[in-house]
Every structure is written in C-alpha cells, then in structure tokens.
C-alpha cells in the first residue's frame, strides 16, 4: 500500500476507533475500563512507518478525543502527538515478533502516556483540574492494552497498514 494511502486509511481507522471507544466499547466491554485501541494503532503506525505518520496520527487521534471529552482541547492532542513521535524514533531499530514485543511495547507506550499526561496536566492545567492519572483504572488499561496489542498488530499487518516484514520499515 502506498504511504499516503496507508496514512489516510489509518487516520480513518483511528477516528472510527475513537467513536467506537466512546459508544459501543463503552457499553459492551465487560470491565469498566476501556482499552485505548486508537493509541495502539498510533503507536504501531509510528513505530513501523516513522515519526511523521506517528505524530500526525497521534495529533488527530488526540484532537478527536479532546472534542468529545471534558478535557481541555489540546491536552490529548499533545500527549498523543508526542507518543506518535517517540514511537517513530524506533523505526528500523527494533525486532518485532508477533506477540511478545508488541505487548511489551504497548505496555510501555501506555505507561509513557500516563507520565506525559501527568506532566502536561501539571504544567498547563489550572489548580483543581488535575486528572487522576495513575489510578487503578490506568494500570488496568496498561494491562488490557498490552493484551490486545498483538491482535491489533496482526490486523494492521494483514491489512498492510504497517509493513509486513520482520524488520520495521526495511
């Protein structure tokens, strides 16, 4: 798949996931914590297709979340942009096996999301508006994201939204 084509399809996938996370998944997920599917897509696309795609997808993913949540606009956009960019820095540097590495990678990425969210909220939010970042539900989200990661990785590979070879992007 051409790079531009893959980017726009990924963007559409991310938007659809954001809407599903706030509707269907919100009501049907058995636990009261919803995995961040859109984050997983952003992180994998960044890691396999590079910083440019990662940060742009992250920005639009965050912006969509900012629109439909009570967060200050720009908060999620900033967090996800940085995640997409950081994920992009490992392009061609890591060996992606089908299960273990995607899981560990997404576990780590979710943890970074928490740290970035806490720092950005501390820097830019008025007092009294700090979100409870490191709560029990966040740690559960880290685990859920890690468990779902290999499935999302496989789907992205099969649909050619990320390169299908073992060494990222080569």
């Amino acid at each position: 798949m051409k790079t531009k084509e893959a980017f726009f399809i990924s963007l559409l996938v991310v938007f659809v996931l954001v809407i599903l996370q706030s509707t269907l998944f919100y009501y049907v997920f058995p636990v009261k914590v919803i995995p961040d599917f859109a984050l997983i897509v952003v992180a994998f696309c960044g890691a396999r297709r590079g910083m440019q795609d990662g940060q742009l997808l992250g920005f639009f993913n965050g912006l969509a979340e900012d629109f439909i949540t009570a967060s200050f606009p720009g908060f999620n956009a900033l967090v996800k942009t940085l995640i997409g960019f950081l994920a992009g820095t490992i392009k061609n540097k890591m060996l992606f096996d089908p299960v273990i590495f995607p899981s560990l990678f997404i576990f780590f990425v979710t943890f970074i999301k928490g740290i970035l969210a806490a720092v950005i909220a501390y820097l830019f939010f008025p007092e009294g508006y700090y979100p409870a970042v490191f709560s029990g539900s966040f740690f559960l989200e880290m685990v859920l994201n890690a468990l779902i990661a290999p499935i999302v990785y496989l789907i992205l590979k099969k649909t050619h939204l990320i390169p299908g070879d073992i060494w990222g992007g080569k």
């Binding site: 954001v18 809407i19 599903l20 996370q21 706030s22 509707t23 269907l24 919100y26 009501y27 009261k32 914590v33 919803i34 961040d36 859109a38 590079g50 910083m51 440019q52 940060q55 742009l56 920005f59 965050g62 912006l63 969509a64 979340e65 900012d66 629109f67 439909i68 949540t69 009570a70 967060s71 200050f72 606009p73 720009g74 908060f75 999620n76 956009a77 900033l78 942009t81 940085l82 960019f85 950081l86 992009g88 820095t89 490992i90 540097k93 969210a117 950005i120 830019f124 939010f125 008025p126 009294g128 508006y129 700090y130 979100p131 409870a132 970042v133 709560s135 539900s137 966040f138 989200e141």
Partner: protein
C-alpha cells in the same frame, strides 16, 4: 532512544513536531485559562456526536429487534399489572392534589416565598469516556434546547432525582457532561438525616465535622445542599460507603457510593434553574 536520530536527516519530522506541539499548547493554554468557549471544539463535538448518535441508534435498533419477541410475551402481563397500578395512582393523585392545595394554603398563611421552578431538559446519553483520565459523557441536546455550561444534570434512579454531574461544554446539538465521579468536580453536599455539611469531590465527601462521627453510619444518604446555588438542594448523590479520619484532622472523610450507575445511564435531565417548566 534518540541515539542516532540526526536533526538534519529528520528535519521535516522535527518541523512537523514543532508545529503540532505549538498548536496543541496554544489550544491548551487558551482554553485552560480563559472562560471563552473554544469554537473548533464545539464544531468538532457536533461532528463526532453525529456518528455517536448513529452508532447508539443502530445498536439500540438491533437490541430492540432481538428483544421484541420476548418483550411481547411480557407486555400482556405488564399491561394487566399496570391497569391495577393505574387505579391505585388515580386515588394517590386525588390525595396528592388535596395535599398540594393544603400545603399551598399553609405556605400562604406562613408567608413563605414561592419557590422558583426548575425546568428539566431531557437528553439521551450518546457517548462515554474515550480514555481513563477524564470522566465524561456526551448527550444529544445542546444550545438549541437552551442547555448552557455549568447546568446541573440529573437522572431518575428508582424514582429519585440523583445527581449525574454538570455540563462542561455545549455545542449546537450536543453537550459534554462531567460526572460526579470526576475528581475535578466539587459539589456542596449535606448528610440528609443529620444535616452535616461537606464537599463532595470525586465521590469523597470532605470537610464533614468530626462531631458527626458518633452519629453517622454506613448507608446514610448524601444529598446536595444547594449551597452557593450551583446545584439545587436535596438531589441524591449517594450513600456513605466508608468513614475515615486522621487524628490530627478536624474533619471526616466519607467515601460515597453513587446512586447512578454511570455505565448504564441512558437518559438524563439537564436542570435549567432559571426557567420554570
């Protein structure tokens, strides 16, 4: 991680990063420290809520279709039972009208001021959290129905008015509600039975006088106090789940179990305190 990433080689990536980060910080600073509504957010909320409506509507259509056969079976039973209830309610209504008339007369005699009515704007929940940092939900009514920022939102649980939260963002056809479970929402509250006041924040009631420790117990009801006027009084918030305090503190800390099940909430009412129904 950054080892081996040269700025020259990735100049375009770094420029994009700079632009995106600047845009995000710009939006963040603008909205976090000003009271002015951010129009792109309202437009975006309208755009995404269109899809949310579609998905919720489609989901409901399928679940209703699947359930319709068993529902028909139950309808006859419910109809018979409702007829009995109706007769009972007719009698209750007569009693109520009589009591209301009597109450009004007594109030007039005692010189009470007439309470200003509160209009309830019905709305449907069309979206929930997308992440786990901010608790929020999207409803399908907006400024077109007179909804404004900071209006309280309630739901009926077992026939009782229960507090859901507060409107945080309004667009033309939808609004974002911040629920009482969010730690950035503060609700002036009072223990219904013993009238000890406090402040509910993220389902914890703080600043309750230590004197209350000998009187209050698990399961005691917590309602809005109406203090400062942001929420009408006597709306149920929840019941006391645990009581704690440190020796050096002058107040108690009560953990509250909310009445509203936020994950199963379908319909809510936005309260317009300045308008009668």
């Amino acid at each position: 991680m950054f080892k081996g990433i040269s700025f020259q080689k990735h100049k375009k990536d770094f420029i994009t990063l700079f632009v995106l980060v600047s845009l995000s910080i710009g939006m963040l600073v603008y909205t976090a420290f000003s009271d002015i509504s951010f129009r792109p957010k309202q437009a975006g909320l309208d755009f995404f809520s269109l899809f949310q409506r579609g998905i919720v509507g489609t989901g409901k259509f399928f679940s209703q279709t699947l359930n319709s056969i068993s529902e028909l079976r139950n309808l006859k039973k419910e109809y018979d039972s409702l007829l009995e209830d109706y007769a009972e309610y007719q009698q209750m209504k007569q009693d109520y009208d009589h009591l209301a008339q009597e109450n009004s007369l007594l109030k007039d005699q005692l010189g009470y001021m007439k309470e200003e009515g509160i209009a309830k704007i019905p709305a449907k929940v069309i979206g929930g959290n997308t992440g786990n940092f901010f608790r929020s939900m999207v409803i399908n009514q907006g400024s077109n129905k007179g909804i404004k920022k900071d209006m309280p939102v309630i739901a009926y649980v077992d026939g009782y008015q229960s507090l859901v939260g507060k409107v945080m963002e309004v667009s033309a056809y939808s609004a974002v509600v911040k629920p009482i479970t969010d730690s950035s929402l503060y609700v002036p509250a009072v223990l219904q039975k013993y009238r000890y006041r406090g402040l509910v924040n993220g389902l914890v009631m703080d600043f309750v006088s230590r004197e209350a420790s000998s009187r209050i117990g698990y399961g005691d009801l917590v309602v809005t106090s109406g203090f400062n006027g942001s929420y009408p009084e006597n709306i149920y918030i929840g019941k006391v789940k645990s009581i704690s305090s440190k020796e050096y503190e002058t107040s108690l800390r009560l953990e509250i179990e909310p009445f509203v099940d936020f994950f199963r909430l379908e319909y809510v009412f936005v309260l317009d305190q300045g308008r009668s129904e």
